[in-house]
């Protein structure tokens, strides 16, 4: 799991088997709203995010227009970068384009006033041209936004020529705007060239640098937000998919196992043994699902031992308290050890007359050891008939055949402990541990 990504956390408790998946908190984000917009909704989005009146934001943008078209630059940048608000249920409000007129008048006034005051028309013109390039780049970039493509389909109503340029919902405007954006960029670059061309040799070098810079900036403006947002979308999509998958998996598991077990328990509620067996099996499978990495019982020692314990639990309706320290790979000899341990568990389950048996296994550098202990009836080793093969053949003999040893300690009335030891080579342990980590 990468970083602090909020994983859907599931936990189960024994009393009512409730499963909780808290949703991750929704971060506050800056959007361009679909309603309340005149051109692209940048001013409305900013005013919502900052909590200032939308009129103030618009006036500020228009006034900034006078300073080398800074307002236009900002607008284009925000337009390119901000995502549009998710489509709600409500019908989008029709835009009142006449509201643009006063702002256009104010902007023109500010520009004229500046020209009157400073007369520095060259730098002002260059700023405007760069702004034009930026707007053109913004238009082009918007056409390549993948989320917009499906948006084209749902507002096919035709609009006046101005709406065709600024509308984001008209399929027909796609080509129009792409070409328009391109023309804007081209005009901007030509304009900048035109402004600086008649200068002297020193400034010609300077102009070259400016052109290169402008070109780079244009490419950057077009490409960077696209990459950035596409990446963001991919990530959001992936997170959503993982969460959805986890939820679906959990739901399927609960349906297949928990609900069926509960139904069986209700039908067998008088048979205490059966209810205990079902509950125990279900608890184990839920625990495995929630906490344990999955491992194949044919490959890993711990998994094999746990599977053997689970089989004995299910068959003989007892609890095997399993503790395994360390892990290693399974081979033929390790499998023999597991089989001997299983036999010891079966003996304890059948003869000891207790509800709980302890199974402890430890992987050491040079030895595997398994202990099976019960506090049951116990028996006298000397008194076991020669014809019985459970202990001699399946436990002691098997361990001896594979180069290990088995000790059985039992006293009548004081329970039994079976100790199984299997020497191993250092390499196999190391390999096992590394592959687990």
């Amino acid at each position: 799991m990468p970083g602090n990504f909020p994983v859907a956390r599931a936990y189960v408790t024994c009393d009512d088997r409730r499963v909780t998946i808290p949703a991750p908190p929704q971060p506050r984000r800056l959007y361009r709203p679909r309603d309340q917009r005149i051109v692209a909704g940048v001013a409305a989005g900013l005013s919502r995010h900052l909590g200032v009146p939308v009129l103030a934001v618009r006036i500020a943008l228009v006034v900034l227009l006078g300073f080398n078209a800074l307002g236009l630059l900002l607008y284009a940048a925000y337009w390119a970068v901000l995502p549009q608000e998710a489509r709600g249920e409500e019908k989008p409000v029709r835009r009142d384009l006449s509201a643009l007129l006063p702002f256009a008048a104010i902007g023109l006034g500010v520009v004229l006033l500046q020209a009157q005051l400073f007369g520095d028309s060259v730098s002002t013109t260059a700023g405007w041209m760069i702004a034009v390039i930026a707007v053109g780049a913004g238009v082009i970039w918007h056409q390549s936004d993948p989320s917009r493509r499906d948006a084209y389909t749902d507002n096919p109503a035709s609009a006046p020529w101005f709406a065709a340029i600024v509308s984001e919902n008209d399929r027909r405007s796609f080509l129009f705007r792409f070409i328009g954006g391109g023309i804007l960029v081209a005009v901007g670059i030509i304009g900048v060239v035109a402004v600086y061309a008649p200068s002297g040799s020193l400034s010609a070098v300077f102009n070259g640098v400016i052109f290169a810079f402008v070109g780079l900036l244009g490419v950057g403006v077009v490409v960077a937000p696209l990459v950035w947002r596409t990446f963001g979308q991919l990530r959001a999509e992936r997170e959503g998919r993982i969460r959805e998958q986890e939820r679906a998996e959990l739901a399927a598991m609960i349906h297949d196992q928990v609900l069926h077990t509960l139904a069986l328990i209700q039908r067998n509620s008088t048979d205490i043994k059966e209810v205990q067996r079902l509950a125990r099996g279900q608890e184990r499978s839920l625990r495995n699902w929630l906490y344990r990495p999955t491992a194949s019982p044919t490959e890993r020692f711990a998994a094999a031992l746990e599977q053997a314990a689970a089989e004995v639990e299910d068959t003989y309706a007892i609890t095997v308290e399993t503790v395994v320290v360390g892990d290693t790979q399974c081979d033929e000899r390790v499998a023999a050890l597991v089989a001997a341990a299983r036999e010891a568990l079966v003996n304890a389950a059948r003869h000891a007359g207790v509800q709980t048996v302890s199974l402890y296994a430890e992987v050491e550098e040079d030895e595997l050891s398994v202990f099976v202990r019960d506090r049951g009836a116990g028996f006298d080793m000397g008194g076991v008939a020669k014809t019985r093969h459970g202990v001699r053949g399946s436990i002691i003999g098997r361990m001896r055949r594979h180069g290990g040893r088995a000790e059985i300690r039992s006293e009548p009335g004081d329970g039994t402990e079976v100790r199984l030891m299997l020497p191993i080579t250092r390499e196999s342990v190391t390999a096992g541990k590394e592959s687990v980590r």
């Binding site: 936990y11 189960v12 408790t13 024994c14 906490y291 308290e321 320290v325 402890y360 202990r373």
Partner: protein, 222 residues
């Protein structure tokens, strides 16, 4: 201050339950009520912190998972102000990182919710007396966490290593032996077994070995 003079054995312990499931609290209260006085319950972290501070019980039975932060948050909030209150983790979770985390925060022991009422009462008594309570599973986690790894640099060998004797005691605990049986097996007194177990708990709580909790989280071993 007039302390009533009673034999320590005769004094009934004050126990506080923290668990977000009312059904489980009711069950424990019914089972444990014969042996001890259940003086309070809480279902959230904030409720638990304020009520434990007010009641000041002998032992708090603490659930690992709760919606608003879990047992660890309760432990950290209460422990500094009231060091005499002892905590016993009682959990259905047997994920190593949960259990080790709670023990490292200062819980005196860990038992699973499948424990029998008599064993639970005995565990509460032992924690109240200042001893540590190790379930076989917890012993397994600790052995796993302290498993000697020669490649890991040890910051404080005195603190970070288990002695051979402590390791032996833990192994026997994991094998399902009772303290009495361990004493018999190792030819030592029960008191010595208790000392070893308490030392292991202390090392677990004080160990500056940061890999300990990381290890458990990485491996998600049970």
């Amino acid at each position: 201050m007039t302390e009533p003079v009673i034999e320590p054995e005769a004094r009934r312990l004050n126990v506080f339950l923290v668990d977000d499931h009312a059904m489980f609290r009711a069950g424990v209260r019914a089972e444990l009520g014969v042996h001890v006085d259940v003086v309070g319950e809480a279902s959230t972290v904030s409720e638990a912190v304020s009520r434990i501070s007010a009641v000041q019980p002998d032992v708090v039975l603490l659930d690992v998972h709760m919606p608003d932060g879990g047992g660890r948050a309760v432990l950290e909030a209460v422990r500094r102000a009231h060091p005499q209150v002892r905590f016993l983790a009682l959990s259905v979770s047997d994920a190593a990182e949960d259990v080790i985390g709670l023990i490292r925060a200062g819980a005196r022991g860990y038992v699973t919710k499948t424990i029998s009422p008599d064993e639970l009462a005995a565990a509460v008594r032992r924690v109240a007396d200042g001893d540590a309570v190790f379930s076989p599973r917890l012993a397994g986690f600790v052995l796993d966490a302290f498993a000697s790894r020669p490649d890991v640099p040890v910051a404080d060998p005195e603190l970070d290593q288990l002695t051979n004797r402590e390791r032996e005691v833990l192994r026997l605990l994991a094998r399902g032996y009772a303290y009495k049986e361990i004493a018999k097996e190792l030819y030592i007194s029960i008191k010595t077994v208790e000392t070893h177990v308490s030392n292991v708990l202390r090392k677990l709580q004080m160990s500056n070995r940061y890999e300990l909790s990381r290890w458990a989280a990485d491996r998600r071993l049970v």
